[in-house]
Amino acid sequence: MSATEYLRVSDLHAFYGESHVLHGMDFTVRRGECISLLGRNGAGRTTTLRAILGLTGRRTGSIMLNGREVINMATHRIAQLGVGYCPEERGIYASLSCEENLLLPPQVGSGGLSLDEIYDMFPNLRERRNSQGTRLSGGEQQMLAMARVLRTGARLLLLDEISEGLAPVIVQKLGEVIRKLKERDYTIVLVEQNFRFAAPLADRMFIVEHGQVMAEIAQGEMAEKQGLLQEYLGV
């Protein structure tokens, strides 16, 4: 079991200036697994992803990535170990064209998708390749933010609220993409508000509240733990 463990977050505390946001996050992700961090706004899910990449203020605890401790590493070094990050605000650069946005992140591993594979997956991006990044529609920007990390060969994807604010047809499309990525043995951490989007995709779900993991629910236990979900998420 521990041999296939890809990411282990233990007793992770994180701060933004004076405010203490994460209070001892604990969870693991196995290689090739897709997990979801569920919870209310402000529960600390986005901060968890940011803390893994060293984008918060001070952090304590441990983050083991593929057997290496990364808590004291500089952000770009962590990314170079093969982490792809899709931020909640999408982070499309206004000063770069669609294709420049796509080609921006440097290779961090082998086996990334080629530009053609990405354009086959997201045909809209091929049509808009020369448009300024922020002229794209919300859905196109989200696809671009996703596509951008698939090219680099990153094996661990940290995806923050990728379904937020998108039309159902695009959400469905993103779900298909995640399934394809799982087939290709990507390891994925989904931060989601949208339970219906995450539930069929995630092998395990972690319920986060007050900067801690309150409960873990495996794919098979969804029905019997309905009460927990009701209590924490209201679904």
């Binding site: 952000t75 170079q80 000063s95 770069l96 440097p106």
Partner: protein, 295 residues
């Protein structure tokens, strides 16, 4: 002799050329300031002093080591760039999160120290630096004499500006730079070493100032105060063009050089202040500058 608006045509073109030369210096210096401001959020008041250091390095290379103009055109900017990298690592990197004012004060202090250093060594009087022999003399264009060195200054500085623009707008490294300017944290989260790029950007920006300094050495006296005389006008140019726009700073620099030259012909008394008058008008109409974007 032919006259235009009562001005001899030779005087007109002479001043136009001089304006173009001055404009070339404005363009190179404001370009460096714009690149530095975009990436580091620092208003680099030491720019004039580092321009002067470039010229002093060229003179010192000749005086002490017998290294000629062409080698110093390469070596002096590298030397100034290295000085910049040391400044960035030791001091500037601690100021990025603070208000602009701190960076401005620090670099202003540095400018005084650098000037004081050369003043202490060589006094305020300028040192002569001769024009390289390849560019001694002038072209006779029929309607005017064009000193070869002035033509070279314009060509060299426009080439450098164009190369800088190409580097930033058309290459992969430039895309990293634009991305890091816009969203440094996310760019670092993609695995790009942003602190290293910031350091190199400052080195490159002040290296441009050093290059301008070497170009200026044969055209004027090389002395510790040559930077502070120029930098005030250059800041006005940056304000008019808008901070952070590359093409804007080049176009504005050249344009204002020409306007200044023409003012010398038609209204000599105003030539020293015309740039500041334009600055006042631009600030009233477009506070972000001609090419700047409002935030």
């Amino acid at each position: 002799m032919t006259e235009i608006f009562g001005v001899p045509i030779q005087a007109l073109f002479g001043q136009l050329m001089l304006g173009l030369v001055n404009g070339s210096f404005y363009a190179m210096l404001s370009l460096g300031l714009a690149v530095i401001f975009g990436m580091l959020n620092i208003i680099n008041f030491a720019h004039g002093a580092l321009y002067m250091a470039g010229a002093m390095f060229a003179w010192m290379g000749m005086e002490y080591l017998g290294i000629g103009y062409w080698w110093m055109l390469l070596l002096a900017p590298i030397g100034v760039g290295l000085v910049g990298i040391v400044i960035e690592r030791l001091m500037l990197q601690w100021l990025y999160k603070l208000d602009h004012l701190y960076g401005l004060l620090l670099t202003f202090g540095l400018a005084l120290i650098i000037e004081g250093f050369f003043r202490d060594l060589y006094g305020v009087a300028g040192q002569p630096y001769s024009i390289p022999e390849e560019f001694a003399g002038a072209f006779n264009l029929g309607f005017m004499f064009l000193p070869k060195y002035r033509a070279w200054v314009v060509v060299a500085s426009l080439t450098v500006c164009l190369l800088t623009w190409y580097l930033i707008e058309r290459t992969r490294l430039g895309a990293y730079l634009r991305a890091a300017t816009e969203n440094p944290k996310l760019t670092q989260a993609f695995g790009i070493n942003v602190p290293l790029m910031v350091m190199l950007t400052y080195g490159f920006g002040v290296g441009l100032a050093g290059f301008a300094g070497v170009l200026a050495a044969p055209a004027s006296q090389v002395g510790p105060l040559m930077g502070s005389n120029l930098i005030i006008v250059v800041f006005a140019v940056v304000v008019i063009g808008g901070m952070g726009s590359i093409l804007g700073s080049v176009v504005t620099g050249l344009g204002l050089g020409i306007i200044e030259g023409m003012t010398k012909v038609f209204w000599p008394e105003a030539s020293a202040t015309v740039v500041f008058m334009i600055m006042a008008v631009v600030l009233m109409i477009r506070p972000a500058g001609l090419f700047g974007r409002e935030k």
